[in-house]
């Protein structure tokens, strides 16, 4: 029986020739990361083991969620991080460089065919580079720090095959929201999810990251976009040429295969009752909003900012409406400055924050009050995630967010083509 990409990656890291879904195996991981929110938990569990880390070069620590320190408590975490990396000789400590899931691939820490785990749900993002990447808990991470190994149950793979072509001002964010609406939050629990077909091949790497970023919102263990020239080019830009490309065997077995015509997908909006509460834009158009947010590991990349800036260029956001923009990384921010994008945002009346998780994590950066309604480019809208439990958050593409803040209500971006 043939294997899928995910199965092949697991097999290669477990020393097995063949693996089958449901099998539980111990695998070597290539790289791991932890960020400021879970560092203390991992660190405490690790200290009990009284040992050094298995390989300091394979451990990445990122400060991105509460940055700059948004409370006395968050300042404290940074101090213990600094002490830890110095003790353990860990060189990859990123403070203020941007959101973990943006900077880890951007800085060349992920290669195709690798297994990458992080203490954050959206670690699945790196599947866009045909790696197996998934989020884990703090105690598991502490054990990996010690041994470099984790056990995994081999997931079954669900394949989404796209045909047709995406419409104007419809983006990969709309594709993934559409799928989450169909599969609901539990539709792919512990499954690998693979995307293929011409519309996926047409997506840029930036758009592919958006796609895989949100597979966890339908319960998936990991997401995979097959390797192609675009993946290769992205890696060459980072001087990465040494990696293994896995492809599905012709007789690989999939749990299910869904065929979707991309041309049927309208701009999508998720919310306000959970990420899988997805509707087409036509059903929520005209809903009054108070705030827009463009940023996060889902949609805070240069292409996202470009799309929004093109819409906002020479215009002002509606009176008494806020727009908050958080570039996903310093690299994105610097390039956005060079291209005049930041100036466009400022002139439109936006607040531009430092790169980091900011509002998506809800501790600072535009926290919502009671009954406030926001349209956001990030990946989660659980009650209270972005502020008051009675605030409402709709998720959409950066284009939909940008159009909506111009009118103070949810707007179909196809109007602005």
């Amino acid at each position: 029986m043939g294997m899928t990409i995910t199965e092949k990656i697991i097999a290669a890291h477990s020393g097995e020739k063949n693996v089958i879904p449901g099998q539980i195996l111990t695998v070597n991981v290539d790289k791991v990361f932890t960020h400021d929110i879970f560092f203390t938990g991992v660190h405490n569990a690790f200290k009990e083991k009284n040992c050094n880390v298995w390989d300091p070069d394979k451990i990445i620590i990122v400060v991105d969620h509460e940055l700059p320190a948004s409370s006395i408590f968050s300042g404290d975490i940074y101090q213990s991080m600094v002490k830890f990396v110095q003790e353990q000789n860990i060189k990859n400590l990123y403070y203020g460089e941007g959101v973990c899931h943006q900077i880890i691939p951007e800085q060349g820490h992920v290669r195709p065919g690798e297994i990458f785990v992080g203490t954050d749900s959206h670690t699945v993002t790196y599947g866009a580079l045909t790696a197996l990447a998934t989020g884990i808990g703090s105690t598991e991470m502490a054990e990996i720090w010690k041994t470099g190994k984790i056990w995994l149950k081999v997931p079954e793979t669900i394949k989404f095959v796209f045909t047709g072509q995406l419409g104007k001002n419809v983006y990969s964010k709309d594709i993934i929201l559409y799928l989450i609406g169909k599969m609901r939050s539990h539709g792919c629990v512990y499954n690998a999810v693979e995307f293929c077909g011409k519309p996926i091949e047409d997506l840029s790497m930036s758009e592919r990251f958006t796609l895989t970023n949100m597979v966890v919102e339908m319960g998936a263990k990991n997401g995979i976009v097959p390797f192609d020239q675009k993946t290769k080019d992205y890696l060459i830009e980072r001087n990465i040429t040494d990696y293994t490309v896995y492809e599905n065997d012709s007789d690989a077995v999939f749990k299910e295969t869904f065929y979707i015509d991309a041309s049927e997908i309208l701009p999508q909006v998720s919310g306000p009752n959970g990420v899988d509460d997805v509707k087409s834009i036509t059903e929520v158009e005209g809903m009054k909003i108070h705030q827009g947010y463009i940023g996060s590991c889902t949609n805070g990349r240069l292409e996202d900012l470009r799309v929004a800036a093109n819409i906002l260029k020479g215009k002002k956001i509606a009176p008494y409406i806020k727009l908050i923009v958080s570039p996903a990384s310093q690299t994105v921010y610097k390039q956005a400055i060079k291209e005049g994008i930041i100036e466009t945002f400022i002139d439109a009346g936006a607040v531009v924050t430092n790169p980091g998780c900011n509002l998506c994590y809800g501790t600072h950066g535009g926290v919502l009050g009671e009954n406030e309604v926001a349209i956001c480019s990030n990946n989660r809208n659980f009650p209270g995630r972005l502020g008051h439990k009675n605030s409402k958050v709709f998720l959409a593409s950066p284009a939909t967010v940008a159009c909506s803040v111009l009118e103070g209500k949810i707007v179909d971006p196809r109007k602005y083509v």
Binding site: A69, I72, V351, T363, G365
Partner: protein, 416 residues
């Protein structure tokens, strides 16, 4: 007896030919400014206690959100919502993303000869262009919003003559810190402080802003610098009425103080008081965790330029976080155009949207117990930027940046 500039401006706004110190007069107010911290309280007082329905002049009441932007908590979001609704009801403009209130007032509203009130202590900054401006509480501000008037006791004026030429690495910030060191936090209580002398004439308006901004830290009621050609130049093309007042020849000051700053060294205000000022060399080497450049005291283009010059092709110390927040969006945009922002990012700094930021200490760059910060801001009170067990030093932008590069308090000349 003749009148000082401050007395003349007050007299004009009281519709009187002459006022004398300690006289209580009712004055017309040109601009009334509120920020996001003080607006919610004011709304209640304005409607419920005074029973006002509308403001005296929609064009002359200005709301500026700057202390907590973007909102850092649900409470802040609620406060902003109240502010936004209040402004909407009154039909007045809200600046939600334009920068620190004092910088925005300076860039967009005030003009020489004005009398301005603001619900913020550092409103005294506007003396830098010949404006009488005072910070007030929310009750007074509410009354002004409704009537356009307030009462004032005419302050006595202390004149501070500053002469000499600064050594390399020493700036206007060091001069005002040194003056506060000398006269202490209560040295100018309810006094108008007028700066003059050759040194002041040489200063840019931005540097004069820094001097006037910190007059409140010596207890001053207001600050004043006689407008000169530099101020005239700034306003010559503005299509508004403005007036420059000069002191009478026979004016009597409460006190005239003389400073020669030729030998002045870089100064720092040490924890936990603004008047606990020492020569930097006495505390050089104190390890720092964070550095902040920004605020209404020193977040302008010339401040960012000093920082960019020092940081060019350098990295900040690995144990230090450097936060840079331009004072307004105009400054931010110009700093982008000049490449300063890129220099800062390359050096490892974190840039945030114009606003009060760490100076106000509610959200961005909080300090935890035991941490030490050097900042270009104007206050270092215990717990101002986080834990009550943290420590804040105030210094010039150059001192802030030199310290960020070295991870410890450092004389900026070492980086020049």
């Amino acid at each position: 007896m003749g009148m000082t500039i401050t007395e003349k401006i007050i007299a004009r706004h009281a519709n009187k030919d002459k006022v004398i110190p300690n006289e209580i007069v009712e004055v017309n107010v040109d601009w009334c400014m509120l920020n996001d911290v003080t607006i919610p309280i004011t709304k209640d007082i304005f409607y419920n206690q005074f029973g006002f329905k509308e403001v005296f002049d929609k064009e002359r009441v200005v709301f500026i959100f700057d202390h907590r932007i973007p909102s850092d908590s649900i409470d802040t979001a609620e406060g902003h919502k109240i502010g936004r609704e209040f402004a909407n009801q009154l039909g007045i403009k809200v600046h939600e993303s334009d920068g620190v209130c004092h910088q925005v007032m300076f860039e967009k509203y005030i003009k020489p000869g004005d009398l301005v009130t603001g619900a913020d202590s550092h409103t005294c900054s506007y003396g830098c262009i010949g404006v009488v401006s005072v910070g007030m509480g929310s009750t007074d501000i509410s009354a002004i919003m409704g009537t356009g008037k307030t009462w004032l006791k005419v302050p006595e004026t202390i004149k501070i003559n500053i002469n000499g030429r600064l050594k390399k690495g020493v700036y206007a910030k060091d001069v005002i810190l040194n003056i506060i060191r000398d006269i202490t936090s209560s040295g100018a209580t309810y006094k108008a402080v007028e700066f003059s002398g050759e040194f002041v004439k040489e200063l840019s308006i931005s540097e004069r802003f820094t001097l006037c901004n910190m007059v409140i830290e010596a207890g001053g009621k207001s600050a004043m610098i006689e407008p000169d050609d530099k101020v005239k130049e700034k306003y010559k093309d503005k299509n508004i009425d403005w007036e420059i007042f000069k002191p009478d020849d026979d004016v009597e000051y409460l006190e005239i103080k003389e400073y020669d700053i030729s030998q002045l060294e870089p100064q720092v205000a040490c924890p936990h008081y603004v008047d606990n000022v020492k020569d930097l060399r006495l505390v050089e080497g104190v390890k720092i965790d964070q550095a902040f450049l920004g605020g209404c005291t020193n977040g302008r283009l010339d401040d960012l330029e000093i920082a960019a010059d020092l940081l060019k092709n350098k990295k900040i110390h690995k144990d230090v976080r450097l936060l840079i927040v331009p004072a307004s969006v105009n400054i931010y945009k110009e700093a982008i155009r000049r490449g300063y922002i890129e220099t800062f990012i390359e050096a490892g700094a974190i840039i945030n949207h114009p606003g009060c930021s760490t100076c106000w200490g509610s959200s961005i760059g909080s300090l935890t117990a035991g941490q030490v910060m050097i900042t270009s801001a104007n206050r270092n009170f215990k717990g101002r930027a986080g834990s009550a067990q943290s420590e804040i030093y105030l210094g010039s932008p150059a001192t802030v940046i030199a310290s960020a590069i070295n991870g410890k308090l450092t004389n900026p000349t070492k980086e020049m």
